[in-house]
Symmetry: C2
Subunit: 500 residues, 2 copies
């Protein structure tokens, strides 16, 4: 890694030039068929698979992530590209609506048909913790291509060489699939000025980001201050609260502790769905849970964090959190941690101290979780009321617990994008039912997901065709439905064709 | 009207109190069934129909709109409420996705099911030009109720008494349908401070607006400056360009002129889809079109504008537009207009002057349209390239024209929400295929529509349930599909139930 060359930041002129090429590519790409877009995405997946060993070696050097983790992440990345390619062709993301003419109606109705059209070039800022799945050829890029948008990736400086290799794979796929020049742009930049120049450029029409609150919020603010504001999908992490309800806690304290020790420390806690807050009501069952969790955490060995910046942030944030009023350490790994390593840690605090201290609501990105001890379920409700928007929330609860506490359940639902019952929040499945996005500050737009094929909708907008003859309509709107898509025709969902 | 009392602006304390009640209503309303929400909406429609003569009389006094126009607008408003109620129950807006567990897969898959959850209290700022359909019980309100959100309406001061009556009708429906106290809030305020107080309140979670650019953009900026930014759907109008392509112009110049004279002056041009810009290439066919249009415009009598403010703005903007370099009057109504009346007017300008003058891109809200005369189709392309986002764009074109000018067609598509072929943009049908919303500055969020049932999606966000037992799932996600909704189950769209 030390032997690797550093990439120089792109100059403003280079960035402007690249974005103009991206716009020119858009003029072509927006007219491509669903099949062409999908085949391009599948070809990228194949290129990634073909270079797997090479790129994993690069990523291991840059990120400190182990082979197995990177291997499964690369497999996931290829799966994303292929499954979103399938979804692109399946066409549900276009929400096709057709209302045929009815000149006998009062007032007379003309023929109107609605499909989706791409927004334009999309800027993607990848995550440091997922060099493949949420980065250069990750979910944002796949969704943008499926929607018909060229992509401009700002490489994450923590894995710039990995990113450079993945960009090359995308370029090879673009050539093989005859994509327009400029369909994919790869920009290096360690400073925030490069990112700002990209987001402020008038030809950039949307932004995808995964990372810190400060980074994601800055992009959002810039984008909204443009003469033409553009949508920003910043996924900024969360503390993913876990509520231990009384009956469940009594029945399964030790069992839960085992699952949570693993969830908190997997990949040294460097997941945006890491459970950073666990809330229970004081009882000897809660003590038993904490003790079991503590025993297991002590046995977990420190590992290298992704990079020096994240390691330092973990150390600083952990120290800050542990120094807050009322916070006590319940467990620390029994092993000595190196300078760049995460220190598996569990802390506790009383609900009253938690409620009075916003610092404790902040994410400590790494293998750390805080157990909040409440005097009563009323106090647990107060905690739920006090929390900000989250990617996920988890209820550890029996059916009876759920029935006994409807207000708590509703409160928790209202503050997250995914609500888990009796599970752990880590592990984000790539499937249509996944919602990865929650109320602010978890993300800047809770109405969309960054995982699952519905994420394609972020980068397209509806376009209605009024009074167009069949021969001039795009294929997804044509009478004979050549793509056999599901369409809402005169308010009935159907795949059949319309009479010509 | 002069005898009518003026409503006093609500104080900040009154507004805060009302919004807190709205939030409390949300805590209940979000748990209501689709049927309960739909029945409430239908009941509002019935209350409007029952009081039709009373409220139309009020609106005639306040808005100067004639009986027939108000009558059809009220019918449309009731239709919106009923058709969105049907769409609420039909459930497509929830984009339901179900992926069942597969413990044999690698990695094992847990059961995840995605539905929609409401955002929270929605603030609605109605339009001056549509006292019913885009105001108090209009499309934004109907969509918010369908999504499960309480509504806070800031009454438009230009029809505050009409708004007060409609609010009463909503309150009667709320009582009849046992809605929670606070489900609907009606706030008076002539100054912008009232609007700002509403939008900045932390318990308000989304905003719908129809009106001017300055008003809509101010709400957008306030909302994005909040500690917790919220989505704003401002529909801010547009100039709705009409492109006359050569073969069509040659074939149908006089016929088109008749349709456009009517479209430009209907309701004194006070529609957000009024065709304010017509673009053609110089020829004697274009002269013939302009002459025919001029003849017809001269015969159209002035009528009262909606209110004194709009009349004054029309006079000012028309004078400003006519005073720009190269702008010539082609026709003015032959009748003398009163002080509060619109003056049907057609002006012309050469493409070169238009391209150099951003003032001419601005909407003149009223019975006014500007014909831009180009030297060539290349110049028409430059006009298309230079225009901002629009609600609608129209192509008057033969099939051959469309085939001959693919870049122009693509450029136009990329700048509007609805593209009309051989028609007029006025007349916004309420149907699922309608897109009423276009790229900025037409609206602040081109990814959503404010007309048609898909507008419900503005006020809800996806929520995934992971690993919940069937008995605890909301009905739309339950195995036996009691509501018989369309759902994407393991990637197949189906209405059948799942095995329990």
């Amino acid at each position: 890694m030390n032997a690797m060359i550093q990439f120089e930041d792109f100059s403003e002129a280079e960035i402007n030039n690249a974005i103009e090429k991206s716009w020119n590519a858009f003029l072509d790409f927006r007219t491509f068929t669903l099949r062409q877009k999908a085949d391009f995405m599948r070809c990228i997946a194949d290129e990634l698979a073909a270079g797997k060993e090479t790129v994993i070696r690069l990523a291991m050097e840059e990120t400190h992530l182990p082979y197995d983790r990177l291997s499964s992440e690369l497999t996931r990345t290829a799966f994303q590209l292929k499954s979103y390619a399938d979804a692109c062709e399946q066409g549900l993301w276009m929400d096709i609506r057709i209302d045929t003419a009815d000149m006998a109606a009062t007032p007379a109705r003309t023929d109107i048909r609605k499909t989706m059209t791409p927004l334009g070039p999309v800027a993607v800022f990848g995550a440091s913790n997922f060099p493949f799945a949420y980065s250069t050829a990750g979910g944002d890029t796949a969704c943008a291509f499926a929607a018909g948008c060229p992509v401009i990736v700002k490489a994450h400086p923590a894995h710039a060489h990995t990113s450079e290799w993945v960009a090359g794979a995308i370029q090879r796929a673009a050539q093989k699939q005859n994509m327009p020049d400029g369909i994919f742009t790869h920009i290096h930049g360690a400073g925030f000025e490069v990112g700002k120049t990209i987001v402020m450029h008038p030809l950039v029409k949307a932004v995808g980001f995964t990372g810190s609150f400060s980074g994601g919020k800055a992009l959002f603010d810039w984008a909204n201050q443009r003469p033409e504001p553009i949508p920003v999908f910043s996924e900024m992490g969360s503390i993913n609260p876990v509520y231990l309800l009384p009956e469940k806690l009594e029945a399964a304290a030790r069992d839960m502790a085992g699952h949570y020790a693993a969830s908190i420390t997997m990949s040294m806690g460097q997941f945006c769905t890491n459970p950073g807050l666990i809330i229970g009501v004081n009882s000897h069952f809660l003590e038993s849970f904490i003790n079991s969790l503590a025993e297991k955490i002590q046995l977990i060995a420190p590992e290298n964090m992704l990079h020096a910046g994240i390691a330092k942030a973990f150390t600083d944030n952990r120290t800050k959190a542990l120094g807050q009023k009322g916070v006590a350490i319940a467990a620390v790994t029994q092993f000595t941690a190196g300078e760049l390593q995460g220190i598996p840690t569990i802390a506790t605090v009383d609900a009253n101290d938690f409620l009075q201290n916003p610092v404790l609501h902040q994410e400590v990105f790494g293998p750390y979780s805080l157990v909040v001890k409440c005097d009563s379920m009323d106090e647990m409700q107060k905690i739920a009321d006090s929390l900000e928007g989250q990617l996920t929330s988890t209820l550890m609860a029996t059916d009876n617990d759920i029935h006994q506490h409807p207000l708590l359940v509703d409160t928790v639902k209202n503050k997250c994008g995914r609500i888990i019952l009796n599970g752990v929040p880590t592990g984000v499945q790539v499937c249509p039912s996944m919602q990865h996005g929650g109320p602010f500050p978890a993300t800047t737009d809770s109405r969309f997901t960054s995982v699952g094929a519905d994420g394609i909708k972020r980068f397209a907008r509806p376009l209605s065709y009024q009074n167009w003859p069949d021969s001039l309509l795009p294929p997804e709107l044509a009478n004979n439905n050549p793509l056999k898509l599901w369409r809402l025709v005169n308010n009935e969902l159907t795949r059949t064709s319309l009479p010509s």
